[in-house]
């Protein structure tokens, strides 16, 4: 080990230290993208769920416009099955930054009979309709999303600025080539653009950045005790919308969430990572992807994300 450490030191002295770290480079790229979209679009909005990726994206936006306000509203599609502590975190964050919050409600669509509950109880795929409705109602022409290319095979093919047609659809086979740092956001009436400023970040980058910038997250990202039961190889929280079947035993475990989505399809992982630095170490050593470990909806098929995205999903 000592030899490799010596090498590292030499590399640093040779000039690497004068270069930006990978986190600084990613931060700089994301801020450039956020500013481009604000400069070129009439009415952008930022998708904010209280999940770690959207929290990081919003943090980047505050840095991009400092000391001014973040010049766009945030949009949340509430499945009605969100973790209460995440909704609480969302509201506190919006209040702290003086932002306008627009909420699209899956529950309201179900109540009006415009969406039907799925047999498996998962509401994640149902978010597309309220999302597109909110975009249309509010005339948003650009929507920032926290999607990352390392999350999923379909997302690996996504552009940083990605055109959606009048029906909100993504056409992965007919995307604009994206060259240099020149982003082409031109669109016609009815179309909109999804912008992904943290496309090039990995899960580990996100966590290292949260640690470095001391960014607050909902508590369930850190280890805590929770009543859970095993289903589909994941630990599912006992809650109003996720009740164990008679054959599923409820036990108390120390868990944390790697992703925070709809309670009906998001699983917890066993973890002793109580602090952000614990999480960084845990993520670096993880042998499973975050979606593979914690998202039932992405296990439906190899192309589950691609199919949802084509319909207009995040």
């Amino acid at each position: 080990m000592s030899t490799s450490l010596t090498e590292e030191t030499q590399v640093t002295e040779a000039g690497v230290s004068t270069r930006l770290s990978s986190l600084d480079t990613l931060e700089s790229e994301a801020i450039h993208i956020i500013r481009e979209v604000v400069a070129e679009f009439e009415k952008p909005a930022l998708l904010f769920s209280g999940g770690k990726d959207s929290v990081v994206m919003l943090h980047l936006a505050t840095k991009a416009f400092w000391p001014g306000k973040v010049p766009f509203p945030v949009l949340h599609v509430d499945t009605g099955h969100n973790f209460p502590e995440v909704i609480d975190f969302r509201d506190r964050t919006v209040e702290r930054l003086g932002l306008k919050l627009v909420v699209g409600s899956v529950q309201e669509f179900i109540d009006r009979g415009e969406l039907a509950e799925r047999a498996d109880g998962t509401r994640n795929p149902l978010q597309t309709v309220p999302l597109l409705d909110a975009i249309q109602q509010n005339k948003f022409d650009a929507v920032f999303g926290g999607g990352r290319r390392d999350e999923d095979k379909a997302r690996a093919k996504e552009r940083i600025l990605s055109l959606r047609d009048e029906f909100g659809q993504w056409d992965p086979r007919n995307q604009r080539p994206e060259l240099w740092n020149l982003y082409n956001g031109r669109h016609t009436v009815g179309q909109h653009v999804r912008a992904f400023p943290i496309s090039n970040w990995t899960e580990l980058d996100i966590w290292r950045y949260i640690e470095r910038e001391n960014i607050e997250l909902p508590g369930l990202y850190y280890a805590h005790e929770r009543e859970v039961f095993a289903r589909d190889g994941m630990w599912r929280a006992v809650g109003e919308v996720s009740q164990p079947r008679p054959d599923e035993e409820v036990i108390t475990k120390t868990v944390r969430y790697r992703t925070v989505g709809d309670m009906s399809c998001t699983g917890a992982v066993e973890s002793n990572a109580y602090t952000v630095s614990d999480v960084v170490v845990e993520v670096a050593a993880s042998t499973l992807t975050e979606r593979g470990a914690t998202r039932a909806d992405d296990r439906i098929s190899e192309a589950a994300m691609e199919d949802r995205k084509k319909d207009g999903y995040f």
């Binding site: 080990m1 030899t3 490799s4 450490l5 090498e7 590292e8 590399v11 640093t12 270069r19 930006l20 770290s21 990978s22 480079t25 990613l26 700089s28 790229e29 801020i31 450039h32 500013r35 481009e36 604000v38 400069a39 505050t62 991009a64 416009f65 400092w66 000391p67 001014g68 306000k69 702290r96 930054l97 003086g98 290319r149 095979k153 379909a154 690996a156 093919k157 992965p172 086979r173 604009r176 080539p177 994206e178 060259l179 740092n181 020149l182 082409n184 031109r186 669109h187 016609t188 090039n200 580990l204 980058d205 670096a284 499973l288 992807t289 593979g292 190899e302 192309a303 691609e306 199919d307």
Partner: protein
Amino acid sequence: MTTEAVLPADLETALPTTLFRFATAGSVDDGKSTLVGRLLHDSKAILADQLDAVARTSADRGFGGDKGGIDLALLTDGLRAEREQGITIDVAYRYFATDRRSFILADCPGHVQYTKNTVTGASTADAVVVLIDARKGVLEQTRRHLSVLQLLRVAHVIVAVNKIDLVDFSESVFRDIEADVQQVGRELGLGSDGISDLLVIPVSALDGDNVVERSERTPWYTGPALLEVLETLPAADELESHLESFRFPVQLVIRPQGALAPDAVAAGLDAEAYRDYRAYAGQITEGSVKVGDQVSVLTPGQAPRTTTVAGIDFAGASLEEAAAPQSVAIRLADEFDVARGDTIAAAGTVREASADLYAALCWLSPKPLREGQKVLVKHGTRTVQAMVRNVTGKLDLATFKLEAASTLELNDIGHAQLRLAAPLPLENYLHHRRTGAFLVIDPLDGNTLAAGLVKDHPGDHEDERYSI
């Protein structure tokens, strides 16, 4: 001293890693997807659930016959149509890290629209890995790839001579191919123009020879393995941040006029002190800047205005200096009217803005280019209307000769002259990878038609047809 890759990072002792972007390019069946899969797999970037999914699909398809095995190519084919057809359609981005660097890999498909994909991948790449099948040697498509990379001024070109196991690890086969590659490099000026370098490595993507670790089966090859090279080459940012020609296209003006962010106020910011705050936000595309530097503000249609940098701000921090590719906000000593689309540059380093644009165009659209066509040109943070005056030739990528042409079609690279509705601070792409680049956009549907590279200063080439 050996410089073997140490994987994975020891988090307690690791220094901050730097970012390195590279792309892969290759011809049909040269094993590019397998090489990418090998890099990801051997650098432990493939996680267990991804590997399980690939193993299942490999078994379903009977990959490797009775011996079985994992088709590493499946790791990179993301879309349903790609897996169904067994081909890669679109550029895919992949991520992996060693303890030195984080890598962004643009995996560019070889057979469908290779020019479009290679141009796209190479435009942001610090290095490009070109694959050659050791049994086939340098093909016409290899020449085309190298030609595109030279045109796009990619700093490091690495030729991986793959399937070296299928030629029994023969040194003479490798040396012949190496000589051919160097010959093409000389014809193009690649590796000898002071801008790029050209490296040739024998590899077996299937077995992993010289991919992550040096192989004992190629004892005649004493150079580094591919990953070692990628870990140690200087990134383009590193090369460009030292250039003296500071360039900063203004993205927007930050002018809160008393309406400060609540969290900034909560953190103790004095609203009164920021009442007249005015800063220009952007990303440094080239060079570096210090407080007190003399700079010129370039506004199209106006003479350059010279002033001094009064401050460099970033999210509450005041910086003494900043360099490419940092995103910052710059305050100027004089209260000029500066807006999006203007460029702030080191004083006295920029040529006069011009409305005549002479450029190489990589045509990326199924709609061919017509002379007289109206287009939009996006350069830096400014988009202007333009007209294509004439096409002055088309490059034969295999012979590197310019042929007469009056149109450009999908995947063609040609030279053209455009007239802009407003002058732009254009610079030669050869020396300015950011301020020498532009997009050609269709004003009707907004699609990107071409990647543009500014050639010599336009004034020098008034109406010269069929000459480079």
